[in-house]
């Protein structure tokens, strides 16, 4: 993968964050809970029970669980898009819901499941949108903004897509451009909601490799919601396992990937092996 020579300069931490060492806590999720009801007068139809975990700079956290277990809700709570019923989410010691929109967008970037553009734009225009939190309402992009956007595209190996229209590129290419826009935000915390959805296995591995490299190079904390047990087991430093709105286990993949636990959560016959690397591998047993 081609990385530009000055790409390390493209994602500097915000002032005040430079003193952070890898032993410090970047993200602290403290006993957050949430309830959703289509009608406020009625009891919630979905609840996320108290969930806690912490992550350091450069760590990848995977949030796993079956459909409708609260993974995306947890991600929205971490991003500040939802306000928890109780508990709090701290980013570098500051509660995320207390941050104004622009300041929050300078620190937290979210890669969501794809939403179509109303009117198409070129990939570079899309990536430059990541500089929005740093601009005043009536300011134009600076040379620095353009350099950062260009390097963000290079980081995800998508420089060649720069002049392509967003509605004329493949799903995998679009995913990379969306990730580049998130990188252009220079976030301390990168959140991804099922980024491997609709990607083939090669593109999935490529994406996770990119995330691991970005996390290491820029000390960026990454939280990723996924259904891919093996990719999460291979690339995540921590796994948060949810079932029906309840956090069952938090820890390194090898400690969370226990056959009985996974079988109970996913309602399937599974086999779990620990590879030489110490990473777990899950396979479905036939006839289950």
């Amino acid at each position: 993968m081609t990385i530009s020579a000055n790409s390390n300069q493209t994602l500097p931490r915000s002032p005040g964050d430079t003193s952070l060492s890898n032993n410090e806590i970047r993200l602290s999720v403290e006993q957050i809970s949430y309830g959703y009801s289509p009608n406020p007068a009625q009891a919630p139809v979905f609840t996320l029970e108290a969930t806690s975990f912490q992550a350091r700079p450069g760590e990848i956290v995977a949030v796993l669980g079956p459909n409708a277990c609260g993974k995306s809700t947890l991600l929205k709570l971490i991003s500040g898009a939802l306000v928890p019923l109780s508990g709090r989410v701290l980013l570098n010691g500051i509660e995320v819901t207390s941050l104004p929109y622009k300041l929050r967008a300078q620190r937290i970037a979210m890669v969501q499941q794809e939403s179509p553009l109303l009117f198409p734009c070129r990939a570079w225009e899309f990536v430059l949108q990541g500089r929005h939190p740093y601009r005043g309402s009536l300011r134009f992009e600076t040379e620095d903004d353009i350099a950062i956007a260009r390097n963000a595209l290079a980081e995800v190996n998508a420089e060649h897509l720069s002049d392509r229209w967003m509605d004329k590129i493949s799903g995998g290419e679009k995913q990379r451009v969306i990730l580049a826009r998130a990188l252009a935000q220079q976030p301390l915390l990168l959140l991804l909601d099922e980024p491997t959805l609709h990607l083939d296995i090669g593109a999935q591995v490529d994406l996770l490799e990119t995330l691991r490299r970005l996390a290491a190079r820029h000390s960026c904390t990454i939280v990723v919601v996924t259904h891919e047990l093996n990719l999460a087991g291979e690339y995540a430093d921590q796994v948060v396992l949810l079932q029906r709105g309840k956090c069952l286990r938090v820890g390194p993949p090898a400690s969370v990937y226990q056959r009985e636990l996974l079988e109970q959560v996913f309602q399937a016959k599974l086999a779990v092996e620990i590879a030489v690397s110490g990473r777990p591998h899950v396979s479905v047993l036939s006839g289950s």
Binding site: P40, R104, S115
Partner: protein, 345 residues
């Protein structure tokens, strides 16, 4: 990667402004009474220098007192409708949205008609009486804005789908009221075409021009402060929020400002169709979908479109006239079909 710069923006606006100037000169020249370019230039300079007494002839009076105010009105109305249309399309995330989609024009028309009917019963000074109809229209538009905004909420939050439905139903309701009033009170009212097709032939009082121009620059300026935010809204409200946009504030600001622009335009010209729908699309095809360019170019493009349409409306069946809305619909409907085929091809 060629990011937008102030120079590039000014160049684009400058080119369109030059086209608008040429269109205005041609529009001044054309009409039932022919005017030479030389005579036109001489009369305009006389007016600019404040020497109205030096106007060359009655033809000069026709140009300065009749055609010029009408063209200026067309410029303001066209620009207002196009900026409002651009704002509504981004806000509602709907490429088919136009300034009238939320029923503002219907509310304005009902307000104006009620003002016309009530006017003779109110003992108002002539200077105030001439403002009654546009003020009625504006109040009707404001009332509609508030009503649709309240109807468009779900669980205390504005919901685009609900807002759109509330607007369409309100527009339909007001159309029925207009037809009812036109049928029962026809002797007191302007022609049906004024409210249903739009018309620039009845110039408002001069004092209203200042309000129109001030209202246009104020509301358009406010919308322009959200131009970067509107770019991000094209990806969806959640995406925009994660990129630092205060979506609730932007929605409110654009909704009110675009509605005010529509109310102002309808109060002096009725409902001129297709301008607010198509001009933003044409400008988007030429200059891209960046609202920092789109809003000002759509404003000038809308002005050009309405001045051309109104000039054609004046001359194609001269000495009779068509309502300008008939011309915009004649040209707009085929253009709309062309754009539809082009974008779906």
């Amino acid at each position: 990667m060629r990011a937008l710069t102030l120079q590039r923006l000014l160049l684009r606006c400058g080119i369109l402004a030059a086209i608008l100037f040429v269109v205005v000169v041609i529009a001044l020249k054309l009409g039932a009474v022919p005017v030479s370019l030389y005579g036109l230039a001489r009369d305009l300079i006389s007016v600019i220098l404040g020497q109205r007494s030096a106007l060359s002839s009655d033809y000069g009076m026709i140009v300065i007192d009749i055609r010029l105010p009408r063209i200026l009105l067309g410029i303001i109305v066209g620009a207002s409708l196009s900026v409002a249309g651009t704002g509504f399309q981004a806000l509602l995330r709907n490429p088919l949205a136009d300034p009238y989609v939320l029923g503002v024009s219907g509310g304005a028309a009902v307000g104006a008609i009620l003002a016309i009917l009530l006017g003779p019963h109110l003992a108002l000074a002539p200077a105030v009486a001439v403002l009654l109809t546009p003020v009625g229209a504006f109040l009707g538009a404001s009332g509609t804005i508030a009503a649709v905004y309240l109807l468009g909420q779900r669980q205390g939050e504005i919901d685009n789908g609900t807002l759109l439905l509330a607007g369409i139903i309100t527009a339909s309701f007001f159309s029925a009221i207009i037809i009812f009033l036109m049928t029962t009170q026809s002797s007191n009212l302007r022609g049906m075409s004024y409210w249903l097709m739009g018309d620039l032939s009845l110039s408002p009082p001069r004092s209203l021009y200042v309000m129109l121009v001030a209202g246009f620059f104020l509301a358009s300026g406010i919308i322009y402060t959200t131009a970067s935010d509107l770019n991000l809204l094209l990806s969806g409200e959640k995406e925009a929020m994660h990129l630092g946009v205060d979506v609730r504030r932007v929605r409110l600001v654009v909704y009110i400002s675009a509605s005010i622009l529509t109310g102002l335009a309808v109060s002096v010209s009725g409902s001129i169709g297709y301008v607010g729908l198509l001009v933003p699309h044409v400008m988007r095809l030429i200059f891209g979908s960046d609202h920092r360019t789109l809003l000002p170019t759509a404003a000038i493009g809308g002005a050009i479109a309405v001045v051309i349409a109104d000039t054609l409306a004046r001359i194609v069946v001269a000495p009779a006239e068509l309502p300008v809305g008939a011309m915009t619909a004649l040209a707009g409907a085929p253009l709309f079909l062309y754009l539809l085929r082009k974008t779906t091809a």
